[in-house]
């Protein structure tokens, strides 16, 4: 939500195209995420899982309502010339921004996989995830790694927002819809699997579209929530995950 | 009279055969010890007996009744209770409240459970710490609390998992006397132990587990002289070396 507003203001005040904004907002939100995890979330939660849940809840309450307070609930959107452009992909016509988003998602997924497999940072992240104390013993700063992971996550979110901006609207509540979608994608794809996230994302997109058609606009939203519940109950490892809860 | 009978119990975790064809028998009123090197499968066996893990094969009988696969809380109600190797106190509660939770298995009234918890605390020498929060206790205190809580459920069979670990010799001595007292009050005890001083002085009967298999069974002094047992702890050929040394001396 924050990133959507940032992108919106970059465009409406400075005329920055959303795709160009990726280069600005990506790094910016990375830093914000890093700082948030390192200096706010970690110290306040003392590392306990239950507390992290509550602290991030408190933060989301603050950010949602800060946005509401500063920018009111007026719906905003941007107008770019190419938003309506259609691309012929052979079987049908697809809106250009959506195609760009698909391409970007695949590229980023690939970059992540490269990051996790080949770089020291990626190995450190995997090490910390698997065995926190052991990672400390070999000299990895766990606090730093947590912050890096969080920062990478927020940078991703910012990029997603820029990709979404041409065809989506901006309100303070817009982020809420994505919470469960994001969690469902991760849980369905399997923890720690990027292929899983991509595949799950595609599947959920199909589910959302189909349930919208079959059940109607308002009832259609239910598809994703039901999948979330069902996956957690019956297949918590997801499609490609190695670890259950 | 056998209080506990384990027959042919096996458990595999992926590629690891943690417990293999284990058979043992604990007689009423006796203290039986289960020893063996680290990683032998002792705690896994306890978890199977107490109902936390189902075995792949085999039967566990308590007082003649088949309890294989029963849920842990059900087995506890029947009178078989275990303690944990890594103690698990209810950290936020006082010693009295901790013991009361165990007491509640047989005592539904809160006030009486709290009162009777005090008696149990006295039995294990913790009456001074009744109102201390559990997280403020020392290792020795936490071990005693774990024991006290288990005792409060009025068990017929008590499974103690390394209850002496981390204690200094004086504390070990106290706990040995306490466990003897518990046995004398009618509770049968099966204990996992590494502290040999406790095993030797307490147990009537010893089983030795290595790599998931029972390799020896007998009275404590027989086990101490058993070559295979010595090799399990000290390594291949150790029995021969020790014999050679004592022959020279």
């Amino acid at each position: 939500m924050m990133a959507l507003y940032a992108g919106y203001f970059l465009f409406s005040l400075f005329g920055v195209d959303p795709y160009v904004a990726i280069l600005i907002l990506g790094p910016l939100f990375f830093c914000l995420g890093y700082a948030l995890q390192r200096f706010v979330i970690a110290p306040i939660s003392f590392g306990k899982e239950q507390n992290v849940l509550l602290v991030t809840l408190a933060l989301s309450i603050i950010l949602d309502n800060l946005a509401l307070f500063l920018w009111t609930s007026t719906t905003r959107s941007i107008d770019v010339s190419y938003a309506e452009n259609l691309v012929d992909v052979g079987v049908t016509m697809v809106a250009l921004p959506r195609l760009v988003a698909l391409g970007a998602a695949i590229v980023i997924g690939l970059l992540f996989w490269l990051l996790m497999t080949w770089t020291d940072l990626g190995k450190a992240i995997r090490a910390v995830a698997r065995e926190r104390q052991g990672a400390r013993i070999v000299g990895i700063s766990v606090d730093h790694i947590f912050a890096m992971s969080f920062g990478i996550g927020t940078a991703c979110v910012a990029i997603a927002a820029c990709l979404l901006l041409p065809t989506f609207y901006v309100t303070p509540q817009v982020g809420n819809a994505f919470i469960l979608i994001a969690f469902t994608t991760v849980v369905l794809g399997g923890m720690g699997s990027f292929i899983g996230a991509l595949v799950a994302g595609l599947l959920l997109g199909i589910v959302e579209a189909l349930s919208g058609i079959l059940l109607g606009e308002s009832l259609g939203q239910i598809g994703i929530f039901l999948i979330f519940i069902l996956v957690l109950l019956f297949r918590p490892t997801g499609l490609f995950g190695q670890r259950a809860l | 009279m056998a209080v506990l009978e384990v027959e042919g119990v096996s458990k595999r975790f992926g590629g690891l055969l943690a417990v293999s064809e284990v058979a043992l028998r604990v007689d009423s009123g006796r203290i039986t010890a289960l020893i063996g090197p680290n990683g032998a499968g002792k705690t896994t066996l306890f978890a199977i007996i107490a109902g936390f893990i189902p075995p792949d094969r085999g039967v566990v009988r308590f007082d003649g009744r088949d309890i294989t696969g029963m849920p842990a809380h059900g087995i506890c109600r029947l009178g078989l209770v275990r303690t944990f190797q890594i103690v698990r106190p209810f950290a936020g509660l006082t010693v009295r409240a901790n013991i009361a939770v165990g007491m509640h298995l047989r005592e539904p009234v809160r006030r009486r459970a709290l009162e009777r918890a005090e008696l149990i605390a006295r039995q294990v020498g913790m009456e001074a710490m009744l109102d201390t929060p559990a997280q403020g206790l020392t290792t020795a205190g936490r071990k005693r609390l774990e024991l006290a809580r288990a005792l409060a459920t009025q068990p017929k069979l008590l499974l103690l998992d390394e209850v002496m670990a981390g204690l200094v010799p004086a504390e070990v001595g106290e706990l040995v006397a306490m466990i003897r007292g518990i046995r004398d009050s009618g509770v049968t005890v099966l204990l996992i132990e590494h502290v040999m001083q406790a095993v030797m002085s307490l147990s009537d009967d010893v089983y030795v587990l290595n790599n998931g298999r029972i390799i020896a069974h007998g009275a404590p002094n027989e086990i101490a002289a058993n070559g295979e047992v010595i090799e399990a702890y000290l390594g291949h050929g150790a029995a021969g070396r020790i014999e050679a040394r004592s022959a020279d001396a």
């Binding site: 110290p43 306040i44 899982e49 239950q50 849940l53 509550l54 602290v55 408190a58 933060l59 309450i61 603050i62 949602d64 309502n65 800060l66 509401l68 307070f69 609930s73 919470i179 469960l180 969690f183 308002s218 009832l219 239910i222 929530f225 979330f228 519940i229 957690l232 109950l233 019956f234 918590p236 809860l245 | 936390f52 809380h73 059900g74 506890c76 109600r77 209770v81 275990r82 303690t83 944990f84 698990r88 106190p89 209810f90 950290a91 509660l93 009295r96 409240a97 939770v101 165990g102 509640h104 298995l105 539904p108 009234v109 809160r110 459970a113 109102d131 809580r149 288990a150 409060a152 459920t153």
Partner: protein, 317 residues
Amino acid sequence: MKRRGFDAQLLVLLALGLFFLALPQFIHSSFWLGFWTMALFFALLGQSWNVLGGFGGQISFGHAVFFGTGAYMSAVLQVKFGIDAWTSAAVAVGAGALVGAFIGAVSFRYGLRGSYFALVTLAFAEVFRVLVNAWDFTGAGFGMLIALKPGAANLQFVDRVWFYYLILALVAITLAIAWWIEHSRFGAYLIAVREDEDAAQALGINCFRVKLAAITLSAALAALAGIFYMQYFLFVDSHIAYGPAMSINALLAPMIGGMGTVLGPLIGAVALGGLSEFTSAAIGKTPGVNLLAYGILLLIILRFLPNGLMGLFRGRA
């Protein structure tokens, strides 16, 4: 020493009871009557959350699913079936309890804990929200409106002060329930499950049944709050009833006041109400200011007073 603590708490409860009973005598504006009524309403909602989240340690992010069921069920029974308000209320409480039992049975049977349980409750709340919003029988996008028919038989009161006494009675019931939890075997088992499920199991506690009972009780109380809301405002829609806002309201009071305590949710609700009035006076009634202040307060409490405001009093003893 234990005896003194025991009596002190009863004394405090008694004093509070007298205070709240006498309060209407000193209030001369409908504004302040409304303030205290709503503060007590949030205390009721918070108490319901506290049973499951505070005492039971199962954090729920979707308590609105029980609240909304109470509200919608009582509305539907009155409006669509013409059943009287009191019977509808009784049935609605049952419906809430049923939803609680269902969600609990399903979640706990499959071992959901911590963040996953919290998110699953949120998911269920969203499912219900979408359902009542799409279904004409529950008013679809227009929500449910109960006709204004003042009279005790209709659970609507001409003199608003009776709503105050009603919510006070309901809060008193939840205080009694919380007190009972602290002094009963069920409560001891619930707290043991919260602290360490495996250790609890090893002492003969059927953790599934304990958690199931807790969520059912919690849901019934939340439904009660929903029913009150419905009678007080005579209107709900899917966002009010099942939306994240009400779920967040449910957990704020206990977290601020002190989770797992008898008085925590009440103190928290009053504190939040006071904070709300303060920010309105200081900054104005801009949307978002209230919750912004709440979020900041929550962060402060999490950092400095992890046991909530009650931690200030407990520290002394």
